[in-house]
């Protein structure tokens, strides 16, 4: 986590992959009961963790922080779909680091809100997500500066999170 926040992308990737497995465990049971696609919720939590990573305090344990953000987003996501739920933080903590993990594929909510970005934003997000390009490569292809690509990408992510939060899907 420490290295991720200093901009070490390898460490950050590793962390996100690791967290994704944990989040799937947490989310699966709850969302099945609520008739929600678990992967949608996992993605929403990942996005929140990413955008709010400045609220983790260096040197403190990562798990409670992840659990707090995850719980907030899970409650939000379920409530938005008309479910009133209590998610005890302890249960989030417990399942977060359990070992079983499955790979799951697609989710739909993100796809839907992605459609609401403007063209330029969507183009940048697509180029990075599908083709795994770096900001530099995207910049060359779309004839933008690298800085502009970074800004566009970041704004897109914030816009996506805001759309999730407002329940526009």
């Amino acid at each position: 986590m420490e290295r991720s926040l200093q901009g070490d992308t390898c460490a950050y990737r590793e962390l996100l992959v690791h967290l994704t497995a944990g989040l799937r465990n947490v989310v699966r049971g709850r969302s099945r009961a609520a008739g929600v696609d678990a992967e949608d919720v996992v993605q929403e939590v990942l996005l929140a963790l990413h955008l709010k990573r400045s609220t983790w305090v260096r040197g403190t344990p990562v798990a409670p922080w992840v659990a707090a953000i995850a719980r907030n987003k899970i409650v939000d996501a379920l409530r938005r779909r008309g479910q009133r739920t209590e998610v005890p933080i302890e249960s989030v903590m417990e399942t977060l680091w359990s070992d079983e993990s499955e790979h799951e594929g697609d989710a739909y909510d993100l796809e839907r809100v992605l459609g609401k970005l403007n063209d330029r934003q969507r183009e940048v997000v697509r180029a990075v997500s599908l083709e795994g390009r770096s900001a530099q490569e995207v910049a060359v292809r779309l004839q933008m500066t690298e800085g502009a690509v970074r800004v566009t990408l970041h704004r897109s992510l914030r816009a996506l999170a805001a759309m999730f939060a407002s329940g526009a899907q």
């Binding site: 992308t9 996100l16 992959v17 994704t20 400045s54 707090a68 953000i69 992510l157 939060a165």
Partner: protein, 211 residues
């Protein structure tokens, strides 16, 4: 979109060092305070006897009160901006009311009862109620901008705390203008003014600090 793809996007966006939220809040506070000082210099003049007042105990009491509010709330704000339960600094917030109570007791003991009403009413209470919120506004706006990056566990509490910080800054600046040094006056009107800022900020926080 597949989760792997999302992770790719997040990693691409995560290539720069992150500014921790408490640093972002401190910067915002600094910027807001500078804007407040500019506003102060534009609109107001420090009281004429400021040079002597610095050595008077009631005046120092007033400044200390404002500093305690601002500093205590700032320390607590860094916790209120996070998703985990706040704990350590909450107790510090009790210092300002304690000091206030102490000041009032000393005044009531040392001054005759006939003088109390005059001290309480002071010279210009409406001035105080208008100027403290006005001077609080720049730091409040800056702090809210920074708090939007945060993930407050209780958005309303985070908003209120930002209001308290800003109210403290506003009170500190207004104290340089205000001719009333009586603890009775401070305990009444300064508190009301700070409470106005705090409740307005709580109201706004509840609405715009959800994440």
């Amino acid at each position: 979109m597949k989760t792997e793809e999302l992770i790719r996007v997040l990693v691409a966006d995560g290539g720069r060092p992150v500014v921790p939220i408490d640093q972002a809040l401190l910067r915002a506070l600094g910027l807001g305070a500078i804007a407040s000082i500019a506003l102060f210099r534009l609109l107001l003049h420090p009281r004429a006897d400021l040079a002597q007042a610095i050595y008077s105990l009631p005046f120092l009491f007033k400044l200390t009160f404002a500093v305690l509010v601002a500093v205590g709330a700032t320390l607590f704000l860094s916790e209120a901006a996070r998703p985990l339960p706040p704990h350590r600094w909450l107790r510090l917030l009790i210092l300002a009311p304690l000091l206030l109570a102490l000041g009032v007791i000393v005044e009531l003991k040392s001054e005759p009862a006939t003088a109390w009403a005059a001290h309480l009413i002071g010279h210009n209470a409406p001035h105080c109620l208008a100027l403290i919120p006005l001077l609080s506004l720049p730091p409040l706006v800056c702090l809210f901008a920074a708090l939007r990056q945060g993930a407050p566990m209780h958005p309303m509490l985070a908003g209120a705390t930002a209001g308290l910080v800003s109210g403290g800054v506003g009170a500190l600046l207004y104290a340089l203008v205000c001719p009333d040094d009586s603890p009775l006056f401070v305990a009444t009107w300064y508190s009301i003014a700070i409470a106005i800022v705090t409740s307005a900020a709580a109201y706004v926080g509840k609405r715009i600090l959800r994440w």
